[in-house]
């Protein structure tokens, strides 16, 4: 096969289910440009009124943390339980606290 075919680039798709909610990642789609990605995302991800708004972003434009760094990044928060309200003991008779 001689054809040096170029793939349509990949976009990540985010959908707002209804106003008041945040956009949420739902999957991805191939498209030639962002406008077409929105059109295709509409056909693929909102066939049953799953959304009122669509965001798309080129997958290659996303910067993500490395799973290998997960410990270094997220473990330090583990022993800081004083950041949670349940850390503090307050007598039962104190109300509305």
């Amino acid at each position: 096969m001689s054809q040096q075919r170029k793939q349509w680039p990949l976009y990540e798709v985010f959908i707002r289910a209804r106003s008041g909610l945040e956009h949420k990642h739902v999957g991805s789609i191939h498209a030639v440009d962002a406008r077409q990605a929105v059109e295709h995302a509409r056909d693929l991800y909102t066939r049953r009124q799953e959304g009122v708004s669509i965001w798309v972003v080129r997958s290659s434009d996303i910067t993500a943390s490395d799973p290998g760094d997960a410990e270094a990044l997220f473990e330090p928060a583990k022993d800081k339980i004083y950041r949670h309200p349940t850390f503090y003991s307050i007598p039962d008779e104190v109300k509305n606290l």
Binding site: Q7, W8, L10, S59, T63, P67, G68
Partner: protein, 331 residues
């Protein structure tokens, strides 16, 4: 799905000192604890290959699965049935897209996946190599084929690989309408004229055994089951799922007043299960090998669609590139 274009960060320094054994142990204990594996996590190569094989087969099945039913879109008996069938076939295409995306997170490109299908090197569910000569076949496919697919797919919603599990949740939600519309078609025919009733029975006769075979070979001969269970890609064995399907489907056939084409089928009080007759695995093997009634036709149709669409794909890309170039010039 899930940003497979992001390999630029840190892939080279992948866990410098940790050796393969520790990585594999850590991976398995994650799986054992029902944690999900995500695209950029370390995984054994065999796990990756198994998933690519299974997810792509699944995707190809959805895509080829559009063909037997697409056969009836122009001849659906009413506008309602036509609208429903178009929606269903569109869903199948969508399911293929979700699954290709999930497979792509494992490092294989969409083009490679499609090439494997069109070259005939990748498998798809053998059920789609059977023809749909009557309208009742559309009913039988929805009821039985989608019914069996749901039975197979629900446990995959808890699969250890995140993107596959998430795609499956979406698919299962949509699949339920497919089965119900199929049953409704069967019900209408079974309660119709004697000729329509015969048509429904004939469709059940032809689709019953292929549907039963959709669950794959018997556990004793299934080569991938044990490993897939350990990796939690699979949660139930082929025979367990097949039994579940038969147990819920036989009463539905009785409700329709149709006869399941298995002379040995009987209810077993002791086990509270139906016992079914022997399955003709020779037929299954033949269809899988490419000698089913429609194997050649299905692939040819797919190839033609792919070739005929080539100029559209290329033109769209060329147009987008031209637009981009113009915008940079204007800036």
């Amino acid at each position: 799905m899930y940003t497979q274009g992001l390999d630029s960060l840190g892939a080279d320094c992948l866990h410098q000192a940790t050796d393969a054994v520790t990585l594999e142990q850590r991976f398995q204990s994650k799986v054992d604890e029902d944690e999900r594996i995500e695209p950029k996590d370390w995984m054994p190569d065999a796990y990756r290959q198994t998933l690519i094989r299974q997810i792509s087969q699944h995707a190809h099945s959805e895509i080829v699965g559009m063909l037997p039913e697409g056969n009836w879109i122009t001849r659906a008996p009413s506008l309602r049935r036509k609208a429903v069938l178009i929606a269903k076939v569109q869903d199948e295409g969508g399911h293929g897209m979700y699954l290709y995306s999930a497979a792509e997170t494992l490092g294989i490109s969409r083009d490679e996946l499609l090439e494997q299908l069109l070259a005939g090197t990748a498998k798809y569910s053998s059920i789609f190599n059977y023809p749909t000569p009557t309208w009742a076949d559309v009913g039988a496919i929805g009821w039985l084929v989608d019914g069996a697919a749901i039975m197979n797919q629900i446990p995959i919603c808890r699969c250890s690989y995140g993107p596959y599990a998430r795609a499956m949740v979406r698919i299962c939600k949509e699949e339920s309408f497919h089965q119900r519309q199929g049953f409704e078609i069967m019900m209408t025919l079974a309660r119709g004229t004697p000729e329509q009733h015969r048509m429904a029975q004939d469709a059940l006769n032809r689709w019953w055994w292929p549907s039963i075979m959709m669950f794959g070979p018997n556990d004793a001969t299934s080569k991938h089951t044990a490993q897939s269970m350990r990796w939690k890609i699979k949660r139930f064995s082929n025979d367990e799922l097949r039994q579940k399907f038969i147990d819920i489907t036989v009463p539905q056939a009785e409700f329709l007043g149709l006869k399941v084409p298995d002379p040995d089928l009987r209810w077993d009080e002791a086990t509270q299960h139906y016992i079914h007759g022997p399955i003709d695995w020779k037929e299954f093997e033949e269809v899988l090998k490419g000698n089913g009634p429609c194997n050649r036709e299905r692939l040819e149709t797919r190839r033609r669609a792919h070739d005929d669409g080539r100029w559209v794909r290329e033109a769209a890309l060329a147009h987008a590139e031209k637009q981009r170039a113009r915008e940079t010039q204007a800036a």
